[in-house]
């Protein structure tokens, strides 16, 4: 459905000198700098797949998404989306895709969302009956039937985002791009939007690419994750495998009857945190058994758990480039 090969995007910007002297200097001379936002990214997406882009701010996720949807031209590389080159921007291509951006809105602020839907109906040339069907269906799924005639500016952020998504789906796109769709929303709204996307993807077999800050979005929705850091693709695969890549380390939390010296703990593994009688140790997976039995036989234990390293943390290690591309 989507094939991306060696996609690269550079852009230039100007350095602004500070102070009055700098402003005067700027009148005659501006220094231009080049930034590589996306560097040589390649991947492909199957029809009906739902994949997540993860990465810190400014990593190049949004830039990649914009190139896939035809908003930006790449500096080099090629992209094929359902047979189209996005930045040719053919009307036929535009009818097959849709993009929602969490920080931008396409709805008319002072009018009810239904008016904006109607505008999209006219723009995409959708028949009256198809339009009625899809709006009813989506409003039901998104649970916004009662809000259809409320002005957009009176809606909460979460409700507004649901409406943005609805507006983007009026023409039943084959591919949906979502850029931070849950940004700034309360947990309940995030949850609702996730549920909707899951059901919609299953029912319609729409191909979905989603970028997010929230691990929970990706964890809940995407079987596959692409991690981008500093413009480079650093990981492409299932999210849960990241932990394994990190060397299969586990966390042991132990609570003892009496406080113990950190020196004692260091014999079992790396001390992450120590707080009176509670301690968190990081231990390589193959040593977990030995460490557990050693602790149990040598110390007085009150409580004891073994957990995976949280995904957020694994990813942040990717960001810091502690782990290189496998």
């Amino acid at each position: 459905m989507i094939t991306v090969e060696h996609l690269t995007k550079e852009f230039t910007y100007y350095r602004k000198a500070t102070g009055l002297r700098g402003s005067l200097h700027n009148i005659f001379h501006r220094e231009s700098l080049t930034k590589e936002a996306v560097r040589d990214i390649s991947f492909s997406v199957e029809e009906g797949e739902m994949i997540g882009f993860l990465g810190p701010n400014g990593a190049g996720k949004t830039t990649t998404l914009k190139m896939l949807s035809g908003i930006l031209y790449p500096t080099s590389g090629s992209v094929s989306v359902n047979g189209f080159t996005p930045w040719d921007r053919s009307a036929e291509f535009k009818r097959q895709i849709s993009i929602v951006m969490g920080q931008k809105n396409q709805l008319w602020w002072d009018l009810p969302a239904s008016d904006s839907f109607y505008l999209n109906k006219c723009i995409f040339g959708i028949s009256d009956s198809d339009y009625r069907d899809i709006v009813t269906e989506l409003a039901e799924l998104l649970d916004v039937k009662e809000l259809m005639n409320v002005q957009v500016r009176r809606l909460s952020l979460g409700e507004r985002m649901k409406m943005e998504i609805l507006a983007a789906l009026i023409h039943r796109p084959k591919i949906l791009f979502l850029d931070e769709p849950t940004i700034g929303l309360d947990l309940l709204s995030q949850q609702k939007i996730r549920e909707f996307l899951k059901i919609y993807n299953e029912q319609q077999k729409t191909t979905v690419i989603i970028t997010s800050h929230y691990m929970a979005d990706i964890e809940a929705l995407c079987s596959r994750t692409v991690i981008i850091n500093q413009g480079c693709l650093v990981y492409d695969g299932p999210l849960k495998e990241i932990n394994q890549l990190l060397g299969r380390r586990k966390l042991l939390s132990v609570k003892t009857a009496a406080p113990l010296n950190a020196k004692v703990w260091e014999t079992f593994g790396t001390v992450r945190e120590i707080n009176a009688a509670e301690v968190i140790l990081e231990v390589a997976q193959e040593n977990v058994k030995d460490a557990v039995s050693a602790i149990l036989s040598n110390l007085e234990i009150e409580d004891f758990t073994v957990t995976e390293i949280p995904i957020e943390e694994s990813i942040s290690r990717f960001y810091q480039k502690e782990v290189l591309v496998p």
Partner: protein, 265 residues
């Protein structure tokens, strides 16, 4: 033809939604009307001065001048109807707000420049302008009939298209430079040359303003046609210039958009 119907339909939706939005803020709508009346006051001062002096400008009597300034007002109103989109363009470019419009399957230029229509500005200009045109037409005893009226309206329409094309050009610079407040000032100031019939300006100035930067074509040709003062070549130019400059604005728009898509992040 099907395409024209499509675009007209969407234009209709824009007009309806703009009006509905505007009426949400009634006070703003009314102050908008007063702003436009303030500008009109300045324009009418010029007419008042000419009436006070009581002199002709070339072949134009004060009554003709009334008609010409009326045309100027009507076309100002039409320009003001959509010019808010022009002035919003720099901000949209700067904040990357074209993104969500680029992915729509219709002309982006149409979508961006016709999205919001400001009726508060149109109404006073249109009302005063029509009164002045009708009054001037009658006082100057200009011909009334199918051909004069149809020709007059044709050149009025050409003028409207030329205004759109010509005044979009400076705003397109916003794809290259961040602040275009000065550009807005300068194009508005250029527009004001039409406050006086072009016959008041010197010969060379008039030629430049008719054939190179054809701002005089916009408001003078409908009136000159009515007076039978347009040469056959001028008749042709009056229809060709709008098409030429519209094509130019399309070309520059596409070029500018290429930059937007290449340079922004």
């Amino acid at each position: 033809m099907k395409k024209i119907v499509y675009y007209l339909k969407i234009m209709g939706v824009f007009a309806k939604y703009s009006l509905m939005s505007a009426l949400e803020y009634r006070i703003n709508f009314i102050t908008g009307i007063t702003v436009e009346m303030g500008w009109m006051l300045i324009k009418l001062l010029y007419v008042a001065i000419i009436y006070k002096a009581g002199t002709n400008i070339g072949i134009l009597t004060p009554d003709h001048i009334l008609l010409f300034v009326g045309i100027y007002l009507v076309l100002t109103g039409v320009y003001m109807l959509y010019s808010g989109n022009f002035s919003a363009l720099p901000g949209m470019v700067q904040h990357g707000e074209l993104d969500l419009y680029i992915v729509k399957p219709l002309s982006l230029q149409f979508l961006i420049t016709m999205r919001r229509l400001d009726f508060a500005y149109l109404l006073p200009d249109l009302a005063a302008g029509i009164i002045m045109i009708v009054t001037g037409w009658r006082l100057a005893e200009l011909p009334v009939g199918f051909l004069p009226i149809a020709g007059f309206l044709f050149y009025l329409l050409c003028g409207a298209l030329l205004t759109y094309s010509l005044f979009l050009l400076p705003y397109l610079l916003s794809f290259w430079t961040v602040s275009v407040g000065g550009i807005a000032d300068i194009s508005n100031a250029l527009w004001d040359f039409n406050n006086m019939p072009s016959l008041i300006y010197g010969k060379w100035f008039r030629r430049i303003g008719t054939y190179i930067l054809p701002i005089f074509v916009i408001t003078n040709f409908p009136g000159l046609f009515l007076m039978g003062e347009l040469s056959p070549f001028a008749c042709f130019w009056g229809a060709a210039a709008p098409l030429l400059f519209f094509a130019l604005s399309r070309a520059l728009w596409k070029f500018a958009l290429k930059r937007y898509s290449s340079a922004s992040s």
